[in-house]
Symmetry: C2
Subunit: 520 residues, 2 copies
């Protein structure tokens, strides 16, 4: 098919307007903020204003910005060092860890993060001036990343429409809030499962689901209990706050994610941060071009981790030294001794522009959502070494589609890394598959960013989007599952059956008695 | 909010191409065809070609057309007279009928229609030349309305991608195929229920669901059994054919429909037939303007029915005669004797252009999907008199939102009609509510028609859309519901508990025995 193009040939009969919105943003730090900031920039260009709530010890969210006014909350923990440190430790010890330990560590990190944010939130609520300022500012909506709960609670308290910019819900994602999600084909986040599960895998999925349910009810919710009781009329819990959100901007799509049911207030914006690649800086372009026909390998571990443990780093460096490709490696630790001059070590790289460069043959990545989405957008196959959080799950989705290969951190050594790298570079199917995903991903009537902006403005125009969400979650669980109806139906059937049996027995007995009477 | 407009400010980085598609269309007759034809016209304007399969006795689908090539199948039943007759009879006797009778009649009509189409389909399969022609034509996809099954079966036989243009699935809609659909808040089509159900209503919903399930398994599926067995490898049934569709163009949206979960291959295109109103013919415009400040009432019963029973028609006419408004009434029966010259009787009216006219105050309608969607699009409140099929359900959705009022056919008389009409005209909330719905409905990033066209072409570009649908329905039902896992888990727990009890009893007994031995 070629020729006609899909360029909005139709008249849009109704052109919605929406200027100068006033948005309260409660973001998450780290790579989540990078993402959120791109959305804010786009909204800013359309005339909207932001107030961003940030911790005093923030890692990525600066106090002064042309983009937003900030509200700084005093926090004691240095997010960069705390999280970076914890995770670096986890990676250092990873070869000794099982999937279970990794998951457990992940859970305890989440719990700790929640308690930090509880303190921050309490600081806000206890500060009368702050509360007055927030109330008086007449925001049009709250935009938050609900991986942690404070934005949800603040939106509820201020009675403002709520838009979520969300990747995973650690409280069980879809299983609670997105839509009814049968555990037989919808893997729980963190389970490392796909949409196709055998008996044992479904058992595992149910166990993971139970763990997450337990964590939500008994670990996360209690953290916020007293704030909910004190400040929110009728109390609150994280899950119903999520269920009350007007719009979910979900950083995924169904090229990446397995198909699943969704409620109508969920908008999939996976890859919304991607744009056609810009030209590289001259020096970098020269380096990339010098690779000739062999092309370039790029490697990055994302924002949370500076480097792999030393011995792994050395092994990787020695593999790179053997390759005919040029390598661009984002690495912040000591310079590996085995490095050859085909490898360029950098502190930071224009990752998207490099992925969009035709010379790039493979992306060695940790599997963060941003990186994986970018690999899909630009069509570059991935050799993935997942570290923690959703990274294994993300990479698994590529591997399932034949567009990437996973090496577990514990299995990384010179041999496995070299094999993996060569496989992804030379086996044509990896490139073909990721490019097919890329075509599918890009083939949308409007871009993911347009969708995101549209729905944020939609919520402002209509002061919410109540008609897009069900309130069924407010029913008691036995009504939601119609167990009360089934119970009554079963009871009626039982009573009927018993009555029939009783009548028969009565009739039989009378006959027998009569016969006996006659006989005697 | 006003000022900036949403006019696709972003660059679409990837412009999909798709020309000259070759589409096999298996439509439904009557109002469904009117709808389908509008979609075909739009696709035609973009360079696609169609072959339309039509019955020789078709009602609306003409043999010769500039829009398509037709394939005519010999059929014995005159669709217009058969359906029109049946339904007219049903309406004539409606005051005597209960909801149950109406539903029953509806079911038997459906079954009869299926058997008619079975014959038609068999004619196709038995005609070797026809089959060869269909095979050789190398269609890109089959576009069908799945209210009846032949298009589904033919697509499966020809191994072609399948796009559905669909309103309701009489086989239970979402409950089987769209997505997991809890019966506690998703009313079964035809149940006359809303998203908010009390105990009795949930009981009713479950009963309706059971009836539909029964009908599907034991009435509809058997009709096609031998065709499925003979021509489809591995056999087939209607539900899995539906589940295998690539894209569902669903003629509804969440301004109209209650919120419900949906799989990613369902695209909501409610109101896709609507465009900004065109000017009326001069004579009609003059009549409409002559109404002055009182405005105009328009009334239509859709395509299936010519007129109400005589006595109801007379009563309605006498009410119209009393009103200060002008009336445009689509009515094909005898001219009512009580008519005054404020009422214009017409055979046909430019319904959409009239609904879009600022003089129109109220739409007296039977509640067909097209009319209700048009009322929403143009923002005209509805006085609804539902006749059959989904019409009550459609009107109920307006009434629930305060944008329309229902009078059951059995309750229609001069008094009730006059009251209803005056209420909808004079109670401002009706107009406010329907106009709010209209604003919400029109506020979409692209129009419903753009969506429909995009996804048809998407399926052609990618030769299907498999990644958007789950194949979970292929699991055995006990695996789908994880009952096998739960059974094993419960068994393990039971065995464990029993073992513990056994050990305890063993230990206790031994102690007691020892004590007894000592005592003795």
């Amino acid at each position: 098919f070629s020729g006609l193009t899909f360029k909005h040939l139709f008249l849009i009969s109704f052109t919605p307007h929406c200027d100068g919105g006033n948005i309260l943003v409660f973001p998450l730090d780290g790579s989540h903020w990078i993402n959120m900031k791109i959305l804010l920039e786009e909204l800013h260009a359309r005339g909207h204003n932001f107030t961003v709530i940030r911790p005093s010890t923030s890692w990525y969210i600066s106090e002064k910005s042309d983009l937003y006014t900030s509200i700084t909350i005093e926090t004691a923990v240095d997010f960069e060092h705390f999280f970076g440190g914890c995770l670096q430790e986890q990676v250092e010890g990873a070869s000794l860890m099982t999937a279970f330990t990794l998951t457990k560590n992940f859970f305890s990190l989440i719990s700790f993060a929640h308690s930090l944010w509880y303190d921050a939130l309490k600081n806000i609520f206890d500060d009368q001036n702050m509360i007055k300022r927030l109330r008086d500012s007449q925001y049009d909506l709250v935009l938050t990343d609900p991986a942690l709960a404070p934005g949800l609670i603040l939106a509820k308290y201020l009675k403002l429409p709520l838009v979520l910019n969300v990747r995973w819900i650690t409280s069980g994602e879809g299983h609670f809030v997105l839509a009814p999600s049968p555990l037989s084909y919808i893997p729980v986040p963190g389970s490392g499962l796909t949409e196709k599960m055998n008996f044992i895998q479904r058992l595992k999925n149910i166990l993971f689901y139970s763990i997450i349910l337990f964590q939500q009810k008994f670990v996360v919710d209690p953290v916020y209990n007293d704030i909910c009781d004190k400040y929110i009329e009728g109390g609150c819990d994280v899950i119903s706050l999520l269920q009350g959100a007007d719009i979910w901007l979900f950083r995924s799509d169904f090229v990446f994610e397995f198909p699943r049911p969704t409620m109508p207030n969920v908008v999939y914006i996976g890859g919304f941060q991607c744009k056609p690649a810009r030209p590289l800086p001259a020096e970098l372009e020269e380096f990339v071009q010098s690779a000739g026909q062999h092309g370039v390998i790029i490697m990055s571990l994302g924002t949370l981790i500076n480097a792999f443990p030393k011995e792994i780093t050395e092994e990787i460096a020695s593999v790179f030294a053997k390759m005919p490709q040029k390598v661009i490696w984002k690495h912040k630790g000591d310079r590996p001794s085995t490095l050859r001059n085909n490898t360029l070590i950098v502190d930071w790289m224009p990752q998207k522009d490099l992925l969009g460069h035709p010379q790039t043959k493979v992306f060695v990545a940790h599997g963060g959502t941003n990186g994986v989405q970018e690999a899909i957008y630009y069509g570059v196959p991935v050799l993935g070494i997942p570290l923690f959080f959703d990274q294994y799950d993300n990479l698994l989705r590529l591997q399932e589609r034949g567009a990437g290969k996973i090496i577990q951190l514990a299995d990384v050594n010179g041999h496995s890394f070299e094999q993996g790298l060569k496989e992804v570079i030379h086996q044509e199917s990896y490139r073909q598959n990721i490019q097919r995903l890329s075509r599918l991903h890009r083939d949308q009537p409007i871009t993911a960013m347009e969708k995101a902006v549209f729905w944020v403005e939609y919520v402002m125009r209509h002061k919410g989007a109540r008609h897009l969400r069900t309130e069924a979650y407010k029913m008691p669980w036995y009504s939601y599952y119609c167990l009360d109806v089934l119970f009554i139906l079963l009871s009626v059937v039982t009573v009927l059956l018993l009555s029939i049996v009783a009548v028969f027995r009565f009739l039989c007995c009378r006959r027998q008695r009569k016969r006996k009477t006659k006989q005697s």
